[in-house]
Point group: C2
Chain length 336, copies 2
DNA sequence: AGAATTTTCCAAAACGTTTTGGGAGTCAAG
DNA sequence: CTTGACTCCCAAAACGTTTTGGAAAATTCT
């Protein structure tokens, strides 16, 4: 309702003094400060955000781009993550704006608009590609940002990611230890870092075990993609006895393919993401997920530290993957 | 990079002219406009958002409060909805900020901060209560807002809602037509409008059929709440043969209760929300959902029209509920 | 040619803060 | 009494736009 000028006038003080009193500077007497704060409280004074932002040259905003294309947006708890992130940012006076990508525009366009219009102090990127033009752009502009997922960018940048390589390697080795020899991989689009990373984990494990790496099929990171990829593998002369899937959605599609192709319930399967619906599939889907609670807080903290100027190499979090054992990974090795 | 002053200087024009040229005013010659736009394009000029906001007295922002308490945030496609809304708002130059409620603060506090700090041009509220203090506050401040869900506020306000009353009444009548006579209701907390509305639908149908309305149990709008409420109803001397549940989450909890209480698969059940995981439960969960595609666009449009000053009564959307028939509602009426 | 009108431009005033660079007083030390 | 240090305050200059209210120049009309 009121602005600084009116408040100052009503107190018989200058704008400067009122402003500084409210900000708790030492060069205003305790008595005045008291009086000012009291009056401000009474009229419910809140500084005008736009004015402050202009003067301070800060947008007090962080944007996260929401990819619209293929597949829904990331992991199941994505909104929870955003919510947690926003909450922690808010504690530092920053708000989180969500920036979906309209059809006909690229994520890069969005970044450009936000950055060049000085609408944000930092950006949060999800679903990184191995070579990610958004990352390159933001690096060239020198604006702070954090990604959910690594990239192959030459310059280091802040990120939070799960160690998909280790997770998928471990999952594959587990199958090997259980006696499986024909272990297939249903891969996501290799341009995405996470998909490539997970694929590498599987391939490395296979090579370590001296097994062939031809049982690999790539598809869109969706139910349908997993379904088609699984059909592909089931057509091979020697069928896999176990399937490591890049995502739960794909794993659920693979489950459907298995059901249709007969030999139902004979092939072990494991996914990644811990989608809630995995608990209800038949068989219940064994899966993996990134450890670490309150990922939102991680993102927020990294963003704030990036804004504060900490070097990127200090702002990289690689979380281990943990197994969520349900039932789908327990099929015997020789059955298929 | 560049601001208006520099751009104007480099062109030998005044700030005014450059500004007006870029905004396409008629009082700048076509030639100059051309020249200005070209130069602006070349240096990648984008007006500073904070400055424009200050001058225009608009925040160019809309905030949506994300409730943290009980249960996750609303319907399954909530993020999709937000994303769609943000996309349409962006087309009008508005960005959507998400405002979760930190522990220790109320949603009202959040509204106050955003409104009194002039941080937003409008607000989007979800999960309305029958008597909603946020609504009352925003009405008193006269700031535009739209709710997801109705309230019992005396003054009309813009909303988008599903006709839960009609939906639950119809669902109940369907059970009645299938021969059911002991039809129970698992209700959500009655302070929420949607929960009360759905409960009323069930009760009205029961009364229309001349049936008793005592088979009603209330619980938290969560799996556990549905589970406990269902146990409650199963303890009744004459068990229900069908269950109408306020939400899918509760219905899934009820399914668990049914499984544990024996008499498995004997009781018909229907939920609401069309959670994806409902397709995977056993039996697959029959459910309901609000019709209308691209709800996000509805919200965005209502918000924009509210900002433009259209009266609230023109900005109310009540969507019919449609059934999603899977399997859980097909149990015979006499079985239980 | 002079008057009226239209076209094209611009200086200056906002918008509401924060911050800079002092300026009065007061007090203690020299 | 002067000097210096301190305390408390403030005027004015930003921040980068948009908008107001003309003014000069060009054009059209008498």
């Amino acid at each position: 309702m009121a602005n600084l000028k009116q408040l100052a006038h009503s107190l018989g003080l200058s704008i400067t003094t009122v402003s500084r009193a409210l900000d708790g500077y030492a060069d205003v007497s305790a008595a005045t400060r008291e009086r000012v704060c009291e009056a401000a409280e009474k009229v419910g004074y809140r500084p005008n955000a736009s004015a402050r932002r202009l003067r301070r040259q800060r947008a007090e905003l962080v944007a996260v781009t929401l990819p619209s294309d293929p597949g829904h947006i990331g992991p199941p708890h994505f909104l929870d993550m955003l919510s947690g992130c926003a909450e922690h940012l808010a504690a530092a006076g920053l708000n989180l704006v969500i920036a979906p990508v309209p059809r006909g525009e690229s994520e890069l366009d969005i970044c450009r608009r936000f950055v060049d219009g000085r609408r944000v102090d930092a950006m949060l990127l999800v679903r990184t590609k191995r070579r990610d033009e958004r990352v390159e752009f933001l690096q060239s502009r020198g604006i702070p940002f954090v990604t959910n997922g690594r990239t192959e960018s030459l310059l280091p940048h802040p990120y939070v990611d799960g160690d998909g390589f280790a997770g998928f390697r471990a999952a594959t080795l587990r199958f090997h230890a259980a006696g499986h020899r024909r272990i297939g991989h249903i891969a996501g689009p290799q341009e995405y870092y996470f998909a490539h990373d997970r694929c590498r984990g599987w391939r490395t494990a296979m090579e370590e075990c001296g097994l062939a790496t031809d049982l690999c099929a790539e598809g869109a990171p969706l139910e349908q993609g997993g379904y088609l990829a699984a059909l592909d593998l089931l057509r091979q002369p020697s069928r896999p006895t176990a399937l490591v899937c890049a995502t739960d959605e794909m794993a659920i599609g693979a489950l459907r393919a298995l059901r249709e192709a007969g030999g139902d319930n004979q092939i072990s399967i494991v996914g990644h993401d811990d989608l809630p619906m995995g608990a209800f599939t038949s068989p219940p889907l064994s899966t993996m997920r990134m450890t670490g609670e309150n990922l939102g807080a991680s993102f927020a903290s990294l963003l704030l530290r990036a804004i504060a100027g900490e070097p990127a190499t200090e702002l990289q979090e690689l979380h281990p993957i943990e197994f969520v054992d349900r039932d789908s990974h327990r099929r015997p090795a020789q059955a298929a």
